[in-house]
Structures are given as structure tokens and as C-alpha cells.
């Protein structure tokens, strides 16, 4: 029973986060002072998530192996050049497999 309550409370709280601004900002013009930070939410959130995936495991510093780090670095460079997110897979996985074979 406790687990059900935990799932329900986490789900309800998460939905409150999701819906809060959709309700509060309805029909309003967002002030410039608000828009400026919003413009960098994406880059900050994506890289925080990415760094957490690559360099930590369960709350501890634990960097990924060289093959994965190299694959991600190559994926970054390729997408910067082509602008196509799918190319991160096309370029990244072969790099990982090659290094995995060699090391």
C-alpha cells in the first residue's frame, strides 16, 4: 500500500510542476525579465542531464569509459557540422564499437 501512495504522490507532485505555469501564465504576456532566463533553460538542462549520465552513477563521480566519451564527442562534432541529430547515432556508435574492439 505504501508503494502505491509513494507512486501517487510523486506522480501528483510532478504533474503540479508540469501544469503550474500553463495555468498561471494563461492569456498573459510574459515579461522580458522572465523570458531572458527561459531562453537558456534548454542548454542548461540538457547538458546537466548529459553530464550526469556520462560522469556519475547513483550519486557518485564515476566517468564513463573512453569509448563512450569518444563516441559522444564525435557525435557532438558531427551534429555541429550537419545539424542533424540522427547523425550523432550514425557517427557515435561506430566510434564506440571500434574503440571497444581495440581497447
Amino acid at each position: 500500500m505504501t508503494t502505491w501512495i509513494v507512486i501517487a504522490v510523486i506522480g501528483a507532485a510532478s504533474y503540479c510542476f508540469r501544469v503550474s505555469m500553463f495555468v498561471i501564465l494563461a492569456g498573459r504576456t510574459v515579461p522580458a525579465s522572465w523570458e531572458r532566463p527561459m531562453a537558456v533553460v534548454g542548454p542548461a538542462a540538457i547538458t546537466a542531464l548529459l553530464a550526469t549520465m556520462l560522469f556519475t552513477t547513483r550519486g557518485q563521480f564515476d566517468p564513463a569509459d573512453i569509448g563512450r566519451l569518444a563516441a559522444v564527442a564525435v557525435g557532438f562534432v558531427v551534429v555541429r557540422r550537419t545539424g542533424n541529430v540522427m547523425h550523432a547515432f550514425v557517427a557515435g556508435f561506430p566510434v564506440f564499437w571500434a574503440i571497444d574492439l581495440l581497447v
Binding site: T3, W4, V6, I7, A8, V9, I10, G11, A13, S14, Y15, F17, R18, V19, M21, F22, V23, L25, A26, R28, A32, E35, R36, P37, M38, A39, V40, V41, G42, P43, A44, A45, I46, T47, A48, L49, L50, A51, T52, M53, F55, T56, G59, F61, G67, R68, A71, V72, G75, F76, V79, R80, G83, V85, M86, A88, F89, F93, F96, W97
Partner: protein, 255 residues
């Protein structure tokens, strides 16, 4: 993203039902790299649920209810480890607090939608959907109806794949050879988005600062590192944006 430069405007309105179908299809296509990225994560969570103390029903319900991988995995692992329910709830809520920022960033694009629709639009707000939709909305080629179709199209594909992959892993398990490196799909999808999003100096500053803080602060209690990293990254990016937007006269005064 450039809300300040390009405020939400109705530019080229998609033409009727055909235009809306096209917008929804665009959402499906654009979010596909994210789907490829989240499926291995969903399989891993489903496998973890299979090995946990959660029942099959609890595992299946938790996927669409929490709808955020990090918080869900934290809940599964902490529950299995016998951690106090209050600590589990607080940890998961802190991890998901970043959803408030996504909500604040997305809400202006749907400000004039009916109330019931705004409640529905908020349901699938997750990292990958936000990272996909916000840059597309910034292009300004969709009106509010088009943005709604785009958002729901992308959300249906992303959430459907997420829940289905977890269900498959819970019921039949997921055994992919380790050499494939399937866990690499999620970071590759994210790095692709990073590469596309860091096209201005404030964005680059926000990204670098957030990444550094996320790693340096990893030992903080209750999984607060990522939220702290995002907030400090946003502050750094905003500061940089304020500096670079000053006129030469203002810069002289600042000196």
C-alpha cells in the same frame, strides 16, 4: 531559444486539417532521435522493476504516472533498498522540480488554448519533449493550433514508446548483448541536441556551467545536484546575455 528576439507570433498558419496533420507528423519525425535515446533507458528501468520489490502492476502504473525516468528509477531503487517513503518522495520531487522550468518556458506558446487543453498539454512535459519542441516553436512557423498538433504528435510517439518499452522489459525482460552499447543511445541523442542548442554565447555559458556543477555537486544529498546545476547554469547564461546585450554606452558605465 530566443523568446526575447522572436516573441511568439502567429506567422504561417498551417492550412486546415492537412496542415495540422503535417504539424503532428513533424512532431513525430523531430522527436524520433529522442525516442531512440529513451527506449534503452526505458528497457533498463523495466528490467530494474522486474528485479525490484515492486509488483508488476506498480511497475506498469509508475511509468505513465511519474513519466520521468530519473525520478522513477530513483523511486524503484530506493523502494527496493527499503528507504523511508518520505525520503523517496522528497528525492523524486526534487529531481522532477526542473519540470517547473520547462512548464514556464513552454506555457507562453499555449497561452490562449482552452483551459482543458492546457491541462492536457502539461501531462507529457518531459526533458526530451521540451528539448525537441522549444527550438521548433522558436522558428515561428507554427501558429498556436499548429504547435498544439506538433506537441501532441511528438508526445504520443515519445510517451507511447516509453511506456511500451518498460512494459516489454517488465514482462519478458530485455537482454541486449553488452557490446552493442545500447545505453549509449540516450547520451548520443542528448549530445545531438546540445550541439544544436549552443549557438549563442549565453547558451554556451549556460551549458558549460550546468555541466560542471552537475558533476562537481554530485555528492549533494537528496539528488539535488542536477536541479542546482540547471539553476546555476540558467543564472550564468542570463548574466552573460545581459552583458552581451548592453549598448556600448552602458558597457562604458559598467566599467
Amino acid at each position: 531559444m530566443s523568446h526575447v528576439d522572436d516573441p511568439p507570433t502567429i506567422s504561417s498558419v498551417p492550412g486546415g486539417a492537412h496542415g495540422l496533420r503535417q504539424a503532428a507528423r513533424d512532431g513525430v519525425v523531430d522527436v524520433t532521435p529522442m525516442v531512440i535515446g529513451v527506449v534503452p533507458f526505458a528497457l533498463a528501468i523495466g528490467t530494474a522493476i522486474g528485479a525490484s520489490t515492486l509488483s508488476t502492476a506498480q511497475g506498469l502504473v509508475s511509468a505513465p504516472t511519474i513519466l520521468a525516468g530519473s525520478a522513477q528509477l530513483t523511486m524503484v531503487e530506493m523502494t527496493t533498498a527499503g528507504v523511508a517513503p518520505l525520503v523517496i518522495v522528497v528525492s523524486a520531487i526534487i529531481i522532477n522540480a526542473r519540470l517547473l522550468l520547462y512548464s514556464a518556458s513552454l506555457a507562453p506558446w499555449f497561452a490562449n488554448r482552452p483551459r482543458w487543453m492546457r491541462f492536457a498539454l502539461a501531462v507529457p512535459v518531459v526533458d526530451q519533449l521540451y528539448f525537441t519542441a522549444a527550438p521548433r516553436f522558436d522558428r515561428g512557423d507554427l501558429d498556436e493550433t499548429g504547435r498544439t498538433a506538433y506537441f501532441f504528435g511528438a508526445a504520443a510517439w515519445l510517451v507511447g514508446a516509453w511506456v511500451a518499452a518498460q512494459a516489454v522489459a517488465i514482462f519478458v525482460g530485455a537482454t541486449v548483448p553488452e557490446w552493442v552499447g545500447l545505453d549509449l543511445a540516450a547520451p548520443l541523442a542528448l549530445v545531438g541536441l546540445v550541439a544544436k542548442s549552443v549557438d549563442t554565447t549565453p547558451a554556451r555559458v549556460a551549458a558549460v556551467v550546468a555541466a560542471i556543477i552537475a558533476v562537481v555537486a554530485v555528492g549533494l544529498p537528496l539528488n539535488t545536484a542536477m536541479l542546482l546545476a540547471i539553476i546555476i547554469g540558467i543564472a550564468a547564461g542570463t548574466w552573460m546575455r545581459a552583458i552581451t546585450r548592453r549598448t556600448p554606452a552602458e558597457q562604458e558605465v559598467a566599467k
